[in-house]
Symmetry: C2
Subunit: 342 residues, 2 copies
DNA sequence: GAAGAAACTTATCGCGCGTAAAATTTCTAT
DNA sequence: ATAGAAATTTTACGCGCGATAAGTTTCTTC
């Protein structure tokens, strides 16, 4: 770290004794040059701290080394954790992850896609908000930029989808609940994304298969403040005579967290220990669900598997020049997490 | 949206009937051109969807329109919410916010600062991890890039700091707790940032001022999994005879959430309603703290004020060419939030 | 040690835009 | 109407790098 400041790649090439095109090659892939020249370049790098101008690089490269990550709602630690995983893997492969959150707003999602077009990313990992209205725009985007969907599927859109298998996870917890007590009813809000619908349908068919009458309780709510919606809806339902049975399966953990808070407010005990208590279960194994009172029984989504596989498929896609042979869907199984709430 | 595709600014200038330098001026600031020419450009923009190449723009501009946002731990909804606020304000001013999370790791924080150097941002909003070891590096960074610190202060570093006034908020809740029941003891973990220390010191002096003996209980924990640390530590302390008094003030809400879960596990009732119960209070008004059982009494940090002021100061800094006259510290008051836990 | 392959150097172009200076047009105020 | 200010156009250059082609050096292989 001494000597005069290096202003551009030519100057750095001069002080390292290597020609500029070779230095350029090195920065695009250190293994593409001979070992001895690589050593000379890296020796120079230790004396002069030069870094190529990323804007000049990206202007001329066909493809940048940027990976766009779009999640629907970053204040939900579930997505924050997945984003963290994905970021780490991208960095490990020498790419630049750039994280965006739609914050539950379709307009923002649209703006993000527009921004991403300008960024000319090598690929995009997109967990869409999932309302149907945006389908056409997202489809158009996916045709321009190599994109892998995760968490929330849109049929036929994007080159691949990675998520959880609601058709496996919901029957899993339904059967558990039926075996350990009264059959559950299903507590849901209007679907902000397709998973919610799939979960309800999976609930209905699982209950029918087990010979029970599927009861669905839907509450109001249009935002992504799921805890608040679960709380308000819970106060309402529990105040008006409660659920059909003493077991409630919520369409996700955040709703369940709100429902538990509502039950507490109304002095209705929650848990599996006493038959007079109401049992509450969720879905996702949200980072906070082990700290509710009582801790929440739920089905864990395999965070790590979903994020790993998403990145893996995206990089296959990038290496295949942006087009896979056919659309690939990968669904991971949920894992039953038995805690005290149900 | 018709006509041939526009490939660059020259082509767009041609079809809009304006010279390229003027078009360039328009994109840098639409108000810098005459209203009539602005109208002509925007008319052309509706027919041909052209957008300037951001890489070419940023390569030549002295300053980009990028704003870096760095938070220590994005899986904490507290920071996710602040980031959301900041992003929105930056977008409103025509800048590009780019969000980074250190994920609690100093090495990652360092890498992020290096990346930010390459991005040549107009300014950076940085909530540092706060361990002393990184001080020198951050100080160096702040001298190169206009930076405003928030949430966690580092004395003398950066052009400004915006955060909460622990010296106001802690006495506030201490006095409330003393007036409504037995004086609190303080539940803390080893400080991952300066706020933790400030809060403990504020607790000690507030208690002394009120004529009580300040009891501090410190538990182990080096990560950012505060809930888990609070839970494990809570099990340990409560299992070994409990706290000195029946009132516990936690150094932050996430720790309190873990402690409440530990109390539940041990069948120790929590709340203010019965003198035999343990009272638990937190600090921050974390997004989830209203959904604990019982809901958490705490001191709210003014999210909105902190993020608004941070952005405001940063833009002042940018307009002042990166240097303010002197370092500016803004501390916002906390607001007592009385819920059922204490 | 010779021949061929692989890696490097030299020279040159292009990318899409910012920026500056000078010449020209358009606006504003009296 | 006219002078002066303000905005725009013209012209020209520069930014830092990717990419390519042709010539040169270095390595590999037998």
């Amino acid at each position: 770290m001494d000597g005069p400041k290096i202003r551009n790649m030519q100057e750095f090439a001069d002080v390292s004794g290597i020609s500029r095109p070779t230095v350029s090659k090195y920065f695009n892939d250190p293994n593409s040059v001979r070992r001895t020249t690589r050593a000379r370049i890296e020796a120079a790098l230790e004396r002069y701290d030069y870094r190529p101008n990323i804007y000049a690089m990206n202007q001329n490269r066909r493809l940048t080394k940027t990976i766009g990550i779009v999640v629907p709602y970053l204040s939900d630690p579930f997505f924050a954790e997945i984003a963290r995983n994905i970021e780490r893997r991208c960095l490990g492969k020498g790419f630049w992850p750039v994280l965006f959150s739609s914050h539950g707003e379709e307009k923002l999602e649209q703006d993000i896609l527009d921004s991403l077009r300008s960024l000319k990313p090598a690929g995009v990992l997109l967990a869409p908000l999932g309302r149907r209205s945006a389908k056409r725009e997202i489809e158009k985007f996916c045709k321009e930029v190599p994109t892998v969907l995760f968490d929330s599927n849109i049929d036929g859109v994007g080159e691949a989808f990675i998520g959880s298998d609601n058709a496996q996870s919901i029957p899993l917890i339904v059967e558990y609940l039926c075996r350990t007590g009264s059959p559950p009813c299903f507590f849901e809000m209007p679907p902000v994304n397709p998973n919610a619908n799939k979960r309800r349908n999976a609930f209905v068919s699982a209950m029918q298969r087990l010979g029970h009458d599927p009861q669905v309780v839907r509450i109001e709510g249009k935002t992504w403040d799921f805890e608040q919606i679960g709380f308000d809806g819970g106060l309402d339902v529990l105040g008006k005579g409660g659920f059909a049975t003493n077991t409630v399966l919520c369409s996700n953990d955040r709703l369940a967290i709100g429902l538990i808070a509502a039950a507490y407010e109304l002095r209705i005990p929650v848990g599996r220990e006493d038959a007079s208590h109401i049992r509450i279960a969720g879905h996702d194994d949200h980072p906070f669900s082990r700290f509710t009172s009582p801790p929440l029984t739920t089905v864990a989504q395999d965070y790590a598997a979903i994020s790993n596989k998403s990145v893996e498929v995206l990089f296959n896609l990038i290496e295949a020049d942006g087009r896979l042979g056919q659309r690939e869907e990968t669904l991971f199984d949920g894992r039953l997490v038995m805690r005290a709430s149900a």
